[in-house]
């Protein structure tokens, strides 16, 4: 990439941070599941379905920089965000578990991880998806300005 092209994709760095967040979240989920051996509950699986492809889709949008990737990544990120919010609500008891789709195997309402006394996995998921959505929106608006 030369300098003239760099200045032509002002949104690139946001896209890059979005990709970084998706990669960290993906590797984190894989670490918890494959290395530490926690079985993901059903809602976690749906969130993984939204998160994992973002790593590849956003990477594809970085080289060459293509702001249209926002169109393809945003639906996944939004769906993941909604699922994460729902999961958070289930886990914090706002929605009773019995009306949720996760009755088999690992219950979604049980917190397996609590970091620093307050940070739970659904919360991390909400944060990750929110950050990615923010980065995607910033890419979009920065570029169209």
């Amino acid at each position: 990439m030369n300098h003239t092209q760099d200045s032509q994709d002002p949104g690139w760095i946001f896209l890059f941070f979005g990709w970084l967040a998706a990669s960290v979240a993906t590797l984190g989920a894989l670490f918890l599941g494959e290395v530490m051996g926690y079985t993901p509950c059903v809602l976690c699986w749906y969130q993984r379905i939204c998160m994992f492809p973002l790593v590849l889709i956003l990477a594809a949008g970085l080289f060459p920089a293509d702001r249209r990737v926002v169109r393809y990544a945003l639906p996944l990120a939004l769906a993941g965000w909604l699922l994460a919010m729902f999961h958070w609500a289930v886990a914090s008891g706002l929605i009773p578990e019995n009306v949720t789709p996760c009755s088999q195997g690992v219950p979604c309402s049980v917190e397996q991880i609590l970091w620093f006394g307050f940070l739970t996995l659904p919360m991390l998921s909400v944060l990750a998806f929110s950050f990615i959505i923010a980065m995607l929106l910033m890419t979009h608006y920065k570029v169209s300005k």
Binding site: L27, F31, V35, G37, L62
Partner: protein, 216 residues
């Protein structure tokens, strides 16, 4: 510039992931070893079904769930190791009924042990596992038809299965599994050493190492 940033970020992420995975696994298997060392008495109990000579110096303890598919696949593998070293290896089984209703089958197996027919019952049930385990749930009523030809006294078996004595043994195995932090099956300890990682090869290596040091 961008490509360098991207590639270095990806490389760092992967390296951090692999390094922490390696660190975590080493740490965990070391902890499991210490745990087993401190709780040697909880590793095997008197009621544990066993194969092989009592004086054998390589002692395998296997935590097994009769409804677990991987346990079924490991079973002939372990049997072959015993066959290859009939005088050197001793195998003791502990039951960890992690599958739904599997405790019922474990009670049945321990009751069959009272009639001296533990191993043939286990083998008959493992061979037919596909039939009586459906989507990881034990179908209690489907178990019986697979043990009919074994010459078990079924009335006695049913009595024993429901006895508090057997219930105590099932509970004891589960309690020891908790103490030793056994959360998945099959789990193996060879001379109180846990598997460093899961698989046929780590088990073979661990047993070979134990054989080499016990029978130089």
């Amino acid at each position: 510039m961008k490509k360098t940033l991207f590639i270095s970020a990806a490389a760092i992420l992967l390296l951090v992931f692999l390094a922490s995975a390696l660190y975590y696994k080493t740490e965990k298997s070391e902890l499991a070893g210490q745990l087993a060392e401190q709780n040697r008495s909880g590793l095997v109990r008197e009621h544990s079904p066993a194969l092989g000579p009592t004086e054998a110096r390589v002692r395998i303890v296997e935590f097994l769930d009769p409804a677990c598919e991987t346990c079924r696949r490991f079973y002939p593998f372990v049997k072959d190791m015993l066959k290859a070293h009939p005088d050197q290896i001793h195998l003791a089984l502990r039951y960890t009924p992690f599958h739904e209703n599997s405790d019922h089958v474990v009670a049945l197996l321990l009751a069959a042990a009272k009639q001296g027919k533990h191993w043939e019952t286990l083998e008959a049930l493992l061979a037919a596992q596909d039939d009586w385990v459906v989507h990881h749930v034990v179908q209690k009523e489907r178990v019986w038809r697979h043990i009919e030809g074994l010459g078990l006294n079924l009335a006695q078996l049913k009595d024993d299965m429901n006895s508090p004595e057997i219930a105590k043994l099932v509970a004891q195995d589960l309690e020891d599994a908790r103490t030793l932090n056994v959360t998945k099956t099959p789990e193996f300890f060879v001379n109180a050493k846990p598997l460093p990682s899961f698989g046929y090869e780590p088990l073979t290596n661990l047993v070979d190492a134990a054989l080499a040091s016990a029978y130089p």
